[in-house]
Symmetry: C2
Subunit: 681 residues, 2 copies
């Protein structure tokens, strides 16, 4: 047996014998222990901090004595003076093995540290971004061995970091020579690895050790809003989040209107491309300002988006996406320079990764949801619904995953609703209707109080009550149904039929008066018959898509439902089920995943292996086309009714038995002869 | 033994048995016979033309009977009607094997056809350009199998051409969809292979079969002139050549003045980069216009240039090249998009290849000379001299090749000469001085007559006699020496000393009057003492460089000398040797290679394997640095004299014994007491 000291690393448990005098970092590397280092053991980056443990470790069968590591040295002292080391910490590159030792690698010293995601259900992200920093000492040029500076940098990376080959753009080459000389031949480079295995590309170079960090943007480019998360590529922390409206809205609210705009207006696609790229530059500058970082430290950006946004971002005419067979110009993922997208607010050599599209109507956003929610790893059958202007649906489990998209339109986002508005302060987002009195109460965004609680008027004085947003209209429709003010076909009853003056005539139909501030010059917010129809169309499309996937899968129920998207985070799952938006499932099995597409983007930003993974997963997902499937129409028509809510909803405690109402809406006085049952109890 | 018919291809001699009905193209492919096809055997590109031979072939042991190939078919008839087939020709994809057959593949049907270079000594170029055309039929999109158009194009290339993977820029993606539809899913793509083995890149796409050809530019980017050869990438033919002055001349005549300009003027390097790129765009447009082709058919460009031009082309500050250790930003070859160099006159996705540099003073132009002249494959020891504003020298044989550069300055190009001018009509390019009468005769560019021949005045009336160019001044100096008007130290004798009134006083020295039209208001062209000194400095630098290489190689003579460059093509080798520009060698062993750097560029353009070859060769060339080598100075000083020409020049028939002259040039009356021997006989 070796007489060399035994070195045991925790938490990995990796162990080995090393000669006296071996630096801890060297031992860690030889054992494959995940211990970080940017400076390559030169005692300047402090990434390799470790904590030695002393005493008896019966579990490991060793006793660690004082002196098992070399003494605290001048390099450590200098670092401690300058930056401070936590008590008990040593620098792994300085501390040398002198005897048996147990060494803990704290999480922040691990290269592949885990970042816990917010959503409780989700796995942690293992940090392994495409772009990493490397500190190197480059040989000085020699007239007698006249290789170029780039070639000597390459050689330094090869000998010091075992990176066999690099690539560099002209713009990097242009700053290479002054930077090497400014850094006195010691520089830090940011290398971007392409997950296809091509030689890494030098994104940036700094003189000496770069300590300013590296950042990436995860961008969820939606039809309506663009959301960006600025992520520290070292820690994985989201250091700032920002969003803005997609300026393409002025060319069309929904995707198909934008495709039409491109078809009808020569150069219209280029106009929309220019608009969204300008917005992305604005967003980049804003988020960097917010986080207080230099925007050129943003070296990577990951995009998720639907196919039409995908094409318009890339400068591709989306016209083929407007007609069957909805052929994408390209469905595979893309890795390309940010400057090819005119993204000039970030590092000039930043790299962009665009997730693959699943099909002409199921985009990189759905792929990102699949990456985040992993239906293909689920033991039970999960339906994932990402509601936007188009809804993307994924249904599957370990055996098989299906995907489709469904044209819900923008009603769920508050558009095409008479008093609709986007989710913003002042918008009604929660609604309750008393089944007895038929009186409403509601909450508006920006105020915790219900409208019938004391102080509500004062609390909402600043924002006012401006309209009703997507989640509000869904709750309102469901509550109207539960309160017996709406029949299964979706008709609003008259005041006579329902017994409440809030059911007011509107043309040949009726509307429900939710809020009336018209006397004070404020808005009069109603839910009209047209609103009900818009919601019915949207929810039928969503439901029909889900049913189509279930047919294809050969099932008539799902084990659980995940609601994704900003909308999914705000919607009341019980109201969604009352409305029949989603197939029946135990309410406890209906969860919200938050912005799963954005999370998928963040995973692809923080972990390069996730890119290969989602590319593989997307190839295995079976696409189901809704647009040409006759059963979609059948399901759509059948889903038009607002069903009877039944017992799976004990939480709807106010509802003992659901009302069975049906109104006959003649053109005349409204006193129709329709069957009408009033709520019992 | 197989009873299938025997198919023998000539000139390759490849043979094999194939079932009756096998298309000749298929047989050729299976045997690895070099038979071209762009359309993949669809009978539309006509690239696979072959000539069947009939009768007895005792050498091959077969007799070919009528009917050994299937009958002339409708596809061939259609092609013949439309374009015409040479008599006896068949289309290899249509003609099917029916019996034993001998098939000749004519040169123009070979993929890797050879292009014979002009220079007699040189090998042929084997055509294998980086960019090639492929005709494919792409699967139409299917809603149920929703891959993108790019992915289906990739699949078509894989199944139809065995190309496993492709890459495409966004700008190509943007035209992919309309082109596929316009071509009804049949398209021709130009694929650019990177010789490093990366996936080929789609440079261009055309609907249907593209028959407009593909072109490349081989560009020799000199300090003074930019020369371009437009080359047909199919045949290798140079279809147009054009050149223009390097506009950077206004920033400095020679390389070091341009480096100084960059050092002294912030942004000066960018100014020079902009200027040269604009000139390249102009040159591209001009050469395309001259050849009558669409400039977007230019899909490749190869550059050779010296290190300073290299950096200024690439947008790199050349400041490091102005001082030891003359560190290049990068010495390796570069493959990059033309748009990165703002070369927007050619195809927007054209690719650029820049040959590697050998060292900070020995550039890609020297590498190109090495590629063209192949010193490393020479059995005898060859000295290759490429004379420009800087001279590049290569010395070597199979065992070892050395390189250096020598700062000759622009005197050899007619600059810094009192009556000097660039080689252009009207410039004196040939000079003879009668050793007896001391009278000159000369030829000017643009006229075949000597100045003392009848009709000379009339023939040169249009251009006039405007000055003296590089080759003219070299001949003049050598002739002055041979005529005894110049002593070995380079002093011009007085009229008294030389006995000719053409030796006129000029300040404290003398000048030789070559041509005097001042009476008619024309120029008075003299060779002054200053001119002699400038030529002495230039030739000493050149000679010292060669000697330094010889020292390094441990030899005191070379077997042969190759003069490269435009200058090398015009210079009289015997005069160069009288002058002592180059080491002694038998006159028959001193040859001109023409523009070897340009030829090297053309080789790299036409043959992708040549790129890997020159990269390997450059790594093996030993660089000798002149700037810091004390022996260079010693050789330089020693080479200042103009030596006694001796017997190796019997061609100089007028000279029986060379004069040994030496003048004493006092400030006074010129009647010095110097030793003076007059020519005998």
């Amino acid at each position: 047996m070796s007489k060399d000291p035994l070195v045991i690393f925790t938490p990995s448990g990796k162990r080995g014998h090393f000669p006296v005098g071996t630096p801890v970092l060297t031992a860690a590397r030889q054992l494959g222990v995940d211990l970080d280092s940017v400076c390559g053991g030169r005692g300047i980056c402090s990434k390799c901090q470790i904590t030695p443990s002393y005493g008896a470790f019966p579990k490991h069968g060793v006793t660690v004595r004082e002196g098992a590591l070399s003494d605290w040295n001048a390099v450590e002292q200098r670092y401690d003076d300058k930056r401070g080391l936590k008590p008990g910490r040593r620098l792994g590159c300085q501390a040398q093995v002198q005897g048996d030792i147990v060494i803990d690698v704290p999480p922040e010293s691990q290269v592949h540290r885990q970042v816990v995601r917010k959503a409780a259900s989700a796995r942690a992200i293992v940090m392994d971004p495409a772009t990493r920093l490397y500190f190197v000492e480059v040989e000085e040029p020699d007239m007698h061995s006249p290789t170029g500076d780039l070639e000597r940098l390459e050689r330094a990376l090869k000998t010091q970091w075992e990176i066999p080959e690099i690539r560099a753009d002209l713009s990097l080459l242009a700053k290479l020579q002054p930077t090497l000389r400014k850094g006195n031949w010691r520089v830090t480079v940011a290398l971007h690895r392409d997950h296809t295995g091509a030689a890494p590309r030098v994104t940036e170079i700094w003189p000496g050790l770069h300590e300013g960090g590296l950042y990436g943007l995860a961008i969820d480019l939606g039809s309506t809003t663009i959301a960006a998360h600025l992520t520290d590529l070292d820690t994985g922390a989201v250091v700032a989040s920002s969003g803005l409206m997609n300026p393409q809205i002025r060319f069309g609210e929904d995707l198909m209107s934008r495709v039409s705009y491109a078809m009808m207006n020569p150069g219209g696609d280029a106009e929309m491309t220019t608009a969204v790229r300008a917005a992305l530059n604005e967003l980049t500058r804003e988020i960097a300002r917010e986080a207080g970082i230099d925007a050129t430290l943003i070296v990577e950006t990951v995009f998720v988006c639907n196919p039409v946004m995908h094409h318009l971002l890339l400068g591709l005419d989306p016209v083929e996406l407007g007609q069957a067979p909805f052929a994408l110009a390209t469905s595979d993922s893309l890795t390309l320079p940010a400057r090819d997208l005119d993204l000039d607010a970030m590092n000039p050599r930043a790299q962009v990764y665009v997730l693959p599209c699943i099909a002409g109507h199921v985009g990189a956003d759905a792929a990102a949801v699949a990456l985040s929610e992993e239906p293909g790893k689920s033991d039970d059958l999960v339906l994932i619904v990402d509601v936007g202007t188009n809804a993307e649906l994924l249904l599957g489990d370990k055996r098989r995953v299906l995907a489709c998209s469904s044209p819900t339109g923008p009603a769920f986002e508050g558009a095409q609703i008479s008093s609709g508005q986007r989710a913003a302060p002042g918008a009604i987002e929660r609604v309750q209707i008393d089944p007895v009195t038929k009186e409403p109460r509601f909450q508006v965004i920006g105020c915790e109080l219900w409208s019938d609680e004391q102080g509500f008027d004062a609390a909402t004085a600043a924002t006012g009550i401006t309209g009703i947003c997507g989640s509000g209209i869904i709750e309102a429709v469901a509550e109207l149904r539960v309160a017996g003010l709406l029949d299964p076909s979706g008709l609003i009853g008259s005041a006579e039929q329902t017994g409440t003056p809030r059911c007011v005539p509107e043309g040949r139909t009726h509307a429900y008066l939710l809020h009336d501030a018209s006397a004070e010059g404020g808005p009069r917010i109603t839910v009209t018959q047209g609103d009900i129809r818009a919601i019915q169309l949207a929810k039928s499309a969503l439901y029909a898509g889900a049913r189509l996937l279930m047919d294809e899968m050969g099932v008539d129920k799902v084990d659980r439902v995940v609601l994704a998207g900003a909308f999914g985070a705000h919607i009341s799952t019980k109201h969604a089920m009352v409305l029949g938006m989603i197939p029946d499932a135990p309410l406890a099995k209906v969860t919200s995943a938050g912005n799963a597409a954005g999370t998928g983007a963040r995973i692809a930003l923080c972990n390069i292996a996730a890119r290969a993974e989602i590319e593989r997963v997307v190839r295995e997902i079976t696409k189901v086309e809704t647009a040409i499937e006759p059963r979609f129409q059948e399901h759509f028509v059948a889903a038009n009714a607002i069903p009877h809510a039944t017992d799976p909803f004990p939480e709807l405690s106010r509802v003992v038995t659901l009302p069975q109402v049906s109104f006959n809406t003649g053109g005349g006085d409204g006193a129709g002869g329709g069957r009408r049952r009033r709520r019992r109890g």
